[in-house]
């Protein structure tokens, strides 16, 4: 068979309903409906609100993906769907829709790992992985550092956050600074006018015993508390503090530790290629640090375009296509969602 697998992918693990269609490493459509606006007044993603939005958006998003690509689900070789990790109620909507399509058109169904999808999506931009790759995935729900020797059969978790996800820390600090949700882009914008060295905020898990036990893990809850204490202290002293400086210094602390540990891991594991993924990959300071440090360490940096960094269906289709290409067994029709699916499980039985 010379033609690459034509796969439809469905993503619904958090607040984005995504349907993508790919042929091998070629992106044909990537329809996304976000419920982000509905979460703004809650200051964070509310699982039940997200699940309700997925249900409403599912059929329109499927239809948009068909229109954009000129490919209908009846034409595809397989259907892939995120079955974890993520919010259970949200995941269930996508998985139920995927099963309905698999039944309706007698297509093989593949339940795949959301985080590995964030790595696979870069294949649509830069071609197939042909060497050991590290992936730093940073979003409102995840902060994970992966070592990928094979996108389907050999993915390991090198480190992850032991408390808040980096994006979550951005949201919480934005709230303290009176900036809107989601915090990432607003802090990034505010930080442009600020001095990243103005306040020395802590870098979590970077010293002594922490480095022995958690060399490649992350922690942002102490940093978040330090920002809150700083703001409260300034207010108590009756001083007006510079939002821009706090934003810049906080952002610098997050991005410094994320990239320092990632490059350390690349060197330790002999990795020559690094991929960024997740919504926080759009952060300006993170990209600056990553570019500078990767270059210095002789590591090639790959960052997919923002629309492929945030949650989407194309990344699931891309991973699904890779799974199909390897001729792996489809998932069963009683496929369950797994809110904490480990990264070394790329495909669910």
């Amino acid at each position: 068979m010379t033609s690459e697998p034509l796969v439809l992918g469905i993503e619904s693990s958090c607040d984005e309903t995504g349907v993508g269609i790919v042929r091998g490493t070629e992106l044909l459509s990537n329809a996304v409906s976000s419920s982000m606006e509905e979460h703004v007044r809650f200051g964070g993603v509310v699982p039940e609100v997200a699940s309700r939005a997925h249900l409403e958006a599912m059929v329109p998003t499927l239809e948009q993906a068909y229109r954009d690509s000129g490919v209908h689900v009846k034409d595809v070789d397989a259907i892939a769907v995120t079955c974890g990790p993520g919010l259970t109620g949200a995941l269930l909507v996508g998985v139920a829709a995927a099963k309905a399509l698999a039944l309706a058109y007698d297509k093989p169904l593949y339940g795949v790992n959301h985080l590995v999808g964030h790595v696979a999506v870069d294949q649509l931009e830069h071609g197939r992985y042909d060497e050991r790759t590290a992936a730093l995935l940073v979003s409102g729900g995840h902060t994970s550092l992966l070592l990928v020797d094979d996108i389907v059969t050999d993915v390991q978790l090198l480190g992850e956050t032991i408390d808040d996800a980096a994006g979550e820390a951005f949201d919480k600090v934005a709230r303290v600074l009176g900036l809107p949700y989601p915090g990432g882009p607003h802090i990034d914008r505010a930080a442009r006018e600020g001095d990243p060295k103005a306040i020395s905020f802590p870098r979590g898990l970077t010293t002594g015993r922490d480095m022995e036990k958690h060399r490649f893990d992350f922690s942002f809850s102490g940093l978040k508390s330090a920002v809150v204490r700083h703001v409260q202290h300034e207010e108590r002293m009756g001083r007006s503090f510079a939002v821009a400086d706090v934003a810049a210094s906080f952002q610098d602390a997050v991005c410094d530790v994320l990239t320092a540990k990632t490059i350390d891991a690349c060197v330790e594991h002999g990795v020559k290629r690094l991929v960024l993924g997740g919504g926080v990959a759009a952060n300006r300071r993170l990209r600056e640090y990553a570019e500078e440090r990767a270059k210095k360490a002789g590591v090639e940096l790959r960052v997919p375009p923002p629309v492929l960094c945030t949650d989407n269906g194309a990344m699931i289709a891309a991973l699904g296509s890779e799974v199909v290409r390897r001729g792996l067994e489809p998932s069963r029709l009683d496929l369950a969602v797994d809110s904490s699916m480990p990264v070394n499980q790329v495909l669910a039985a």
């Binding site: 007044r41 809650f42 200051g43 509310v46 039940e48 609100v49 699940s51 309700r52 997925h54 249900l55 409403e56 599912m58 059929v59 499927l62 239809e63 689900v73 259970t88 109620g89 269930l92 909507v93 998985v95 139920a96 829709a97 099963k99 309905a100 399509l101 698999a102 039944l103 309706a104 058109y105 007698d106 709230r175 303290v176 600074l177 009176g178 900036l179 703001v231 029709l333 009683d334 496929l335 369950a336 969602v337």
Partner: protein, 209 residues
Amino acid sequence: MLILALDTATPAITVAVHDGERVVGEARGEGAMAHGELLAPAIRDALAQAGATMDDLTDVAVGVGPGPFTGLRVGVVTALTLSGSLGLAPHGVCTLDVLAAEAGDGELLVATDARRKEVYWARYVDGRRVEGPEVSKPADLAARFPGLPVHGRGGRLYADVLAHVPGVDDPSAAALAGLVARGEAQELPLEPLYLRRPDATPQVSTKRA
């Protein structure tokens, strides 16, 4: 005519295939937390029993609740997806109506478990829903309709305060399909009857602008 009927608004996952005259395939699954796993195999099994394929279907009927949200959505999104892609005629029916269809004539209440010590309920006269669906505390429901017979698992769970009539505990897709086939369903939009808002409090004031 070949109707696929399904309901996931209660722990009893139920699927039936109906040819307009009678039920030709039926499958069930039981599990309060397993709707996502059990529904698709039950659809496959019911179709196989009917000797039919998806291509033979003309209609899809689904219980739109009320019921616990996560399980309810599995059935509704399945019906939406099948209807949207295969072009099946959609029929949304209140899950309590499905129970009422098997509860008999006269005036009665149907109640299911709404968790949090509450029931989902509706009032029926000769099989027609005349009030509800609503969600209430069992004692409030009993005070509002003293002595009115209550059918369904909600009545059984709170038989200490409600006038529970044993018989039908859970909805059956066969009854649902029958309502639709006979044109007796009080049809609703194909969307979940949540009756409750999401549990979330809007953020109070941010610290400073």
